[in-house]
């Protein structure tokens, strides 16, 4: 009789170990997935830029400095390593794009060009999506960290060697308002 009870307890305990192992795995995967989602959106942004540059060059003959800034920013984004640097590079790209769009205000033909408008809309939409992807990344980190810190997850975190992960930070430089220069 005792034997059966002990067996039952052992099965329940084993089950709990199994559940927590899987939970860590699932939440960890979610974090990795959301990281790659950020990459997907950033790549999309980088891909849109050459098209935009060509369109703008067709109308705007002189502002080569602004155009060069965008092209350089794009290069930097593609070359960036690690999610923090990529986000920084993307923020820089966004500020150079803002300059281009501000310049476009002075060229009515460009402003009316459907290609330009479409690219502008898409770039704006991907910027929103990068923001959402970052948000989801931080949310995933929160779920994971919660599991690591609360009881009994904390116990299993020690056993399985799981550590809390870091959130995506916004650096002080990015928080400064970006000036649009003509």
């Amino acid at each position: 009789m005792i034997g059966w009870i002990l067996l039952g307890i052992a099965i329940v305990i084993g089950f709990v170990f199994f559940i927590y192992y899987n939970r860590f795995a699932v939440l960890g995967n979610r974090i990795d997935n959301s990281l790659s989602q950020i990459d997907v959106q950033l790549k999309r942004r980088a891909d849109l830029v050459p098209n935009l540059v060509e369109t703008v060059k067709g109308f705007v003959k002189h502002e080569t400095a602004a155009i060069k800034a965008v092209t350089d920013a794009r290069k930097a984004l593609i070359g960036a390593q690690g999610v923090e640097d990529k986000i920084k590079a993307d923020n820089h790209l966004e500020s150079t794009l803002k300059t281009i769009f501000a310049i476009a205000e002075g060229y009515p033909d460009l402003k009316a060009n459907t290609n330009f408008l479409e690219l502008q809309r898409e770039l704006s939409s991907t910027e929103d999506r990068v923001a959402y992807a970052r948000q989801f990344y931080n949310d995933s980190i929160l779920s994971y960290n919660n599991l690591c810190k609360t009881f009994p997850g904390a116990m299993f975190a020690k056993i399985y060697g799981k550590k809390e992960r870091e959130y995506l930070q916004i650096t002080e430089a990015e928080k400064k308002k970006v000036d649009v220069k003509f």
Binding site: S34, F136, D139
Partner: protein, 292 residues
């Protein structure tokens, strides 16, 4: 005085817990009722009633559950929204799926001047979202986004599955009480001790369906609050949803003939104003959102 701030995550879990405990109430009523009947009649008869009600209730509801997405769409005559014509609609939902980590639902559009939306489907992989043309016309981008986020919140919380479960239990109680009441006509010459249980049984048979109906409505309202909080979680922008709700409040309501009562609970706001209490009052929803 500053309203006390509420964290949207707490709001989500609080309402989910409340709806869970309310469901326990329904289950307890169910068990009690079953006990009383089994005391009033022989156990064999009781089991027969149970089995009949289970079979009817579950099979009816399971069929509608597995096809809930198709049924909901068909019952309001919604059409698939094409990506070319509804760019913003698609774009907004895509952004929200990134924020929520969910797969992309199928998008539909419904002819109606009212601002409204609903979501259906047994899980996020089989979800559909539908908005009215009125919603697309009358709402600003961020307001529409708030409404769509609310609907995705329902999908993410598996609300369709949840409410189906509740409906199964409520349906079973209704069927059992019907069978019980009708079967009383055929009973005769029972012993005195069974008499008291028959009496209790009759009272329960009349009251229980009503009680659990109101509990079901209460559960529905809790899930609505939870979906509002989920919308904030996805957009981090309560004002979008708040302004959408304010617009709906002011919206002129024409009587909607096409919307059946069965589908009404799915909608973002009552398509029948003042009738069904599946949704909390709009003022209360706005108040809660303003604290997030």
């Amino acid at each position: 005085m500053e309203p006390i701030r509420v964290d949207f995550r707490d709001q989500i879990s609080k309402n989910k817990w409340k709806s869970f405990f309310l469901m326990i109430i329904i289950f307890v009523v169910f068990v009690l009722f079953g006990y009383v009947i089994s005391m009033a009649f022989e156990p064999g008869f009781f089991f027969m009633i149970m089995i009949i009600s289970i079979v009817f209730s579950i099979s009816y509801i399971l069929v509608s559950y597995y096809n809930s997405d198709k049924i909901a769409i068909a019952s309001v005559g919604a059409k698939k929204a094409s990506r070319e014509n509804y760019k913003q609609y698609y774009s907004l939902v895509e952004g929200l799926t990134i924020a929520s980590g969910m797969p992309m639902p199928k998008l539909y559009i419904m002819k109606s001047g009212q601002i409204n939306a609903f979501a259906s489907g047994r899980d996020p992989q089989h979800a559909v979202v539908c908005v009215t043309e009125g919603a697309l016309e009358k709402l600003e981008k961020r307001e529409l986004e708030g409404v769509l986020a609310h609907e995705l919140g329902h999908v993410a919380s598996y609300d369709m599955k949840y409410m189906t479960l509740v409906a199964v239990m409520v349906g079973m109680i209704a069927i059992i009480s019907q069978i019980f009441l009708r079967s009383l006509w055929f009973r005769s010459g029972d012993s005195k001790d069974k008499g008291i249980f028959i009496l209790i049984g009759v009272v329960m048979a009349i009251l229980a369906p009503i009680v659990v109906y109101f509990v079901q409505m209460s559960i529905s309202r809790k899930r609505e609050f939870s979906a509002d909080a989920s919308a904030v979680k996805f957009t981090r922008y309560p004002s979008g949803l708040i302004n959408a709700l304010k617009k709906i409040n002011k919206d002129v309501i024409e009587p909607e003939k096409k919307v059946s009562k069965a589908v009404a609970p799915l909608f973002f706001s009552n398509p029948f104003k003042g009738l069904s209490s599946t949704h909390p009052p709009i003022e209360k929803r706005i108040q809660t959102l303003e604290r997030m």
